[in-house]
């Protein structure tokens, strides 16, 4: 067994660090889009909107029932062959779309559960004072559901960050892609991938600390 080339690893740190913004960019954009989409999907399901409800159920089932990697390949390599508007789509965009759709399916289910967790009588109270469906969702139900769902949604965000590494398979040079390129030149695969792994680990741990803070402050606000 050869010793780890730590000097090489230190050299890689600034290189990989340069790609952190791209990883975070993809994850943050996809997360925001997925949250909005998931909330819409969850509302369609909770209100049992005719027809749409069935379509959404199939959408959720498909995106939960197939691997993310397969979905990404479908968007990047498959769809452009039949949808002319998608030809020349770049890997970053395809990855963001794929991550958005994939995670929105999971997040929709947790948001739906959180909405259903809000006591039914609060819907009725809101209706009784004359609020419309939209008003009561926005002002009463969703804020409470968001609180319940927040820890789970944070977990999905963490998952999302790790999943951006799959963009590498669409030819995107992000953290993982950069490490691969470096390793291909130096043949020090262990060191290169270890550095990437450590980067992901640090990012995720940092977020986990934030998550725990968020949870305890949300807990306090509710118990007040």
């Amino acid at each position: 067994m050869r010793p780890l080339d730590t000097a090489y690893m230190w050299e890689l740190v600034p290189v990989i660090a340069g790609y952190v913004p791209l990883t975070l960019f993809m994850a943050v954009i996809a997360m925001i889009a997925a949250l909005a989409l998931a909330a819409a999907l969850a509302i369609v399901r909770v209100l049992r909107v005719p027809v749409l409800d069935r379509i959404v159920a199939v959408f959720i089932s498909f995106f939960r029932g197939t691997p993310l990697l397969v979905q990404l390949f479908l968007f990047y390599f498959g769809l452009p062959q039949v949808v002319p508007a998608m030809t020349g789509i770049d890997g970053v965009t395809a990855a963001i779309i794929g991550l958005t759709l994939h995670f929105s399916a999971y997040m929709a289910e947790s948001i739906r559960g959180a909405i259903l967790g809000v006591d039914r009588s609060q819907w009725e109270a809101a209706q009784s004072i004359g609020m419309t469906q939209g008003q009561l969702l926005r002002r009463i139900i969703l804020p409470q559901a968001a609180r319940t769902a927040a820890p789970t949604l944070m977990n999905y965000f963490i998952d999302m960050i790790k999943s951006t590494s799959l963009a590498f398979t669409l030819g995107v040079t992000e953290m993982m892609g950069a490490a691969q390129k470096e390793a291909a030149g130096s043949f020090l695969y262990l060191e290169a991938f270890l550095v990437v792994a450590l980067f992901y680990w640090v990012i995720v741990e940092t977020l986990s600390v934030g998550q725990r803070r968020l949870e305890s402050s949300l807990g306090k606000a509710v118990a007040r």
Binding site: A125, Q127, S128, I129, G130
Partner: protein, 246 residues
């Protein structure tokens, strides 16, 4: 007879179960009516239909110049009806994400379009009336059952409704909080607010109501002033019920 609120031929079914079987009721302005009757008789359903929380299958509801027909109620009709009725729930049903004050202002700002300042002034006035002037910033979870129900009543008061509906407002309360809530309702009744109250508190009903309505099996069996209904009920079913509840 000048009805402020007029209910005609109200029918409500859940599947094959006919829960309201042709209810006719007229409330004069400022009249306070208590509904009594056995469990499962449709008392709550009647109140809920008046607020369209349950959708009646047949019949008409008129409040002032708003008439809603079960067969062809539009969304605007339903909202108009709800703006004229305040509903007090058995389990308070306060908005858990809002303070006591915000529970009261919500209907004013979001539904009526009042400015925040105007709604706040109104809410502070109501908080004083319900004896919670110093609890405006508290969240429901931090309040006793009695305080929560008083906020629930305050939320309905804020609407300045033509009709206030109370569905067993004290049944979910620990005995120690019942008195303060009944006191508040008594004060509202003293203000000659038109109200319909479902209650198991017979003594209270006798005290505040102008008229007692006895329901059984989805129908109004008998009604009349408290002394008549409690003293000389005509119908066997009414007498049997009154014997049972003591």
């Amino acid at each position: 007879m000048s009805c402020q609120i007029e209910i005609t031929g109200l029918v409500k079914r859940f599947g094959t179960n006919t829960v309201l079987n042709g209810i006719d009721l007229c409330l004069e302005p400022g009249e306070r009516v208590a509904i009594i009757g056995p469990s499962g008789t449709g008392k709550s359903t009647l109140l809920r239909c008046l607020n369209w929380l349950d959708q009646p299958d047949q019949g008409q509801i008129r409040m002032g110049d708003v008439t809603v027909d079960a067969a062809r109620a539009s969304r605007a009709d339903i909202l108009a009806l709800r703006r004229r009725t305040g509903f007090v729930f058995q389990n308070y049903a306060l908005f858990a994400n809002k303070t006591a004050r915000a529970n009261i202002t919500e209907g004013l700002t979001t539904v009526r379009g009042w400015s925040a300042d105007r709604a706040r002034a109104r809410a502070d006035d109501i908080l004083a009336q319900i004896g919670l002037a110093d609890r405006g910033d508290s969240y429901p979870a931090a309040m006793s059952g009695g305080q929560q129900q008083r906020v629930g009543i305050g939320r309905a008061m804020a609407l300045d409704a033509d009709l206030m509906l109370f569905d067993e407002p004290t049944s979910a309360l620990d005995p120690e909080w019942v008195g303060e809530v009944l006191d508040l309702i008594r004060r509202i009744a003293d203000g000659r607010q038109t109200m319909l109250i479902v209650t198991h508190e017979m003594q209270f009903a006798r005290e505040i109501a102008d008229r007692i309505v006895f329901m059984e099996g989805g129908r109004i069996v008998e009604q009349g002033p408290p002394e008549q209904l409690f003293g000389r009920a005509q119908d066997d079913r009414t007498r049997a019920f009154l014997r049972r509840v003591g």
